[in-house]
Symmetry: C2
Subunit: 383 residues, 2 copies
């Protein structure tokens, strides 16, 4: 397979614009220099708009998981009680991390089902230092009710730690308005930079909590990042992945040029287009919603049709040059997922749907060939 | 200053070859694919030669410090006693990390002075789960006696954890022969890849120790990297920094083309050339040696001459387009450091010395102008 000619339609890593790829080819620089500080500061300026926050934003050389661990490990220790909401793979990861650093009280919900806010409130009433939420659950394609959970966290005095790895940069996230104390995003999702950087916004309340924690991780200590970032000349505590910063800076420049409002609208309509197509193709969406939750605007998860395994769909798509995702853990084979993150275009979406139609027809699982593409195109017309 | 025209002569990040920079511009790929596995495996094959080991090598998306923390945090917990050798900034970091995860018994030596092996043996006699050593202390330019320390570790049944961040790839390191259980290297030093990846070799004994540790870090859990790396299709536990893997693969290809023997000889002679020049320029080397230690073959640390601060030298060099390093922590101003790591050439070394001569003459601190360059050139002739 020619890698240069593959269309990535997974929920990250996403295709990276050629100008972002080219930006990474610049020579190395001293990471303790005004030149590096300027790049870092430039990134933070655009990120403030992505996060809708006045909080400081730290950039860690590591994956989104590194960002999640930094957020938890910097404010939670030994006896601290953490309520962890889990309705998918990444919720589970947050729960595991909370259990590693403190005492976790999980709110476990069947993967793909919505968060029960009443049950959450019961748990918070019992007292908690923090509550963790995966805003957009990449593994199941559900968007969880961050504003409502932020209100509950505030009501009960808990820190609100939010994984916005696949929402920030592609969907509406209002860190300050929602009261998110620590919000985490990965570079390789909606921001459409290469993988390898995690960005975490830190509220005053979170910073105070850090200062009281005796034993924080070392490489992932957000207090160290905060301190280095506050210097007259912005630095990172440890050597940063310089080419990834070049790439992030250029990717954020693209975000700025498009404008966050237009970017969110594009993500939203392209996902709606996927869902419209799936309905015509008799493919059922995987998430179960309630009034507080909705389908993700950056990744769509569908049940595999009877007689065709999700992994088989993935394989057939790959043969045709399109990479989509299957299900994770116990969902493997049962679902398949199409990302509509980052710089994805309407053409990419239509190609993906068309290819899926071809596969389903070949397997004798599609009645109205072309109806999916048509339904998607109709939504895309509103772009 | 034009960044494209700067010569990096710091002890990392080092200049990266244009073909390595270009390699990073390839499109993103799925990190759970045969394509990514092939890159990872290709890197490990060359790294086995760099490390001189049959042990498995894990590649972490993070800085050298992340690699150090992974090594310690994966095998050390709560009541475990760790003997940490400190004779420079990075020894101090290892000590801090050991103290974070276990009970540290530091062997503190004045920065720049050699390790006292008798004192070390006394500490090991008292029993220790692990001993940590910075092989090549980047902050002071001393090469510590890893083979002797490996023997002592073995004698007393301690795990030998070695920071080879600025020796591996540029100087002789024999992981298996020396009995190093966990050896760490960063991508941006002698291997001459961009910063952002850490590689750690894991011995059977280290793996057994990990399995017995109850609470390992999450993102930096070497057991998770080991497990993912052992799969039929090599993976990383969390999303890897794909462009950095492209870069590392190409940089290691360069290492392979040069051959490790020639590479070590080049590093060794170029550092000798720096030292020969310094002697002619009446600049004193900073490290104090004993029979077991030697000057570093990848970074040279010199005392700043009377009447000229080390930071001032750094500044004057930068004005002329050459980036060298000053001293860290309490050594700031007292010393200056010249890296001869990675793809550094004899021309780079001669330019650096020549520029330093010009500065010293301007300050009235040099008698025999040109003698430094001449002495260096004589050593370089042996290349």
């Amino acid at each position: 397979m020619d890698l240069e000619d593959t269309l990535l339609m997974m929920p990250g890593p996403v295709p990276v614009a050629p100008r972002v790829l080219r930006a990474m080819s610049k020579p190395m620089i001293n990471h303790r220099s005004p030149e590096f500080a300027a790049i870092y500061d430039d990134c933070r300026e655009v990120l403030a708009d992505v996060f809708q926050t006045k909080n400081d934003i730290c950039i860690i050389s590591g994956s989104g998981t590194a960002g999640m661990e930094a957020a938890i490990g910097s404010v939670v220790e030994s006896e601290d009680r953490v309520v962890s909401i889990e309705n998918g793979k990444f919720g589970e990861r947050f729960k595991d991390l909370a259990g590693l650093y403190g005492q976790v009280d999980p709110l476990e919900i069947e993967w793909g089902k919505p968060v029960d806010l009443e049950m959450l409130e019961e748990k918070l009433e019992a007292g908690a230092k923090a509550v963790t939420l995966v805003h957009n659950e990449t593994s199941t394609g559900i968007l969880n009710p961050a504003p409502e959970i932020g209100k509950l966290a505030k009501k009960y005095g808990a820190l609100f730690i939010m994984d916005g790895v696949t929402s920030l940069g592609g969907d509406e996230v209002k860190v300050d308005e929602w009261g998110v104390d620590l919000a985490v995003v990965g570079s390789q999702k909606c921001i459409a930079a290469p993988p390898g950087l995690a960005m975490v916004s830190v509220s005053e309340k979170a910073l105070e909590a850090m200062e009281a924690v005796k034993k924080r991780p070392y490489y992932l200590d957000l207090k160290a990042y905060k301190k280095s970032g506050d210097k007259a000349r912005t630095e990172t505590p440890y050597t940063p992945a310089i080419p990834l910063f070049y790439g992030l800076q250029e990717a954020l420049q693209l975000v700025k040029e498009e404008g966050m409002e237009a970017r969110i609208k594009r993500h939203s309509l392209l996902s709606e287009a996927v869902r419209a197509a799936m309905a015509e193709m008799n493919l059922e969406m995987f998430p179960k919603l309630n009034e507080y939750s909705s389908y993700s605007n950056t990744v769509s998860a569908m049940k595999a049709p009877k007689g065709l395994d999700g992994e088989e769909i993935k394989k057939e798509m790959k043969k045709r040059g399109i990479i989509i995702a299957g299900g994770q853990a116990h969902l493997k084979g049962q679902i398949f997922r199409i990302g509509s993150m980052g710089n994805v275009s309407s053409r990419d979406i239509l190609t993906t749907i068309q290819t899926l139609e071809l596969i389903l027809r070949e397997k004798g699982l599609l009645e109205n060939f072309g109806a999916g593409v048509e339904a998607a195109a109709k939504v895309i017309d509103r772009l």
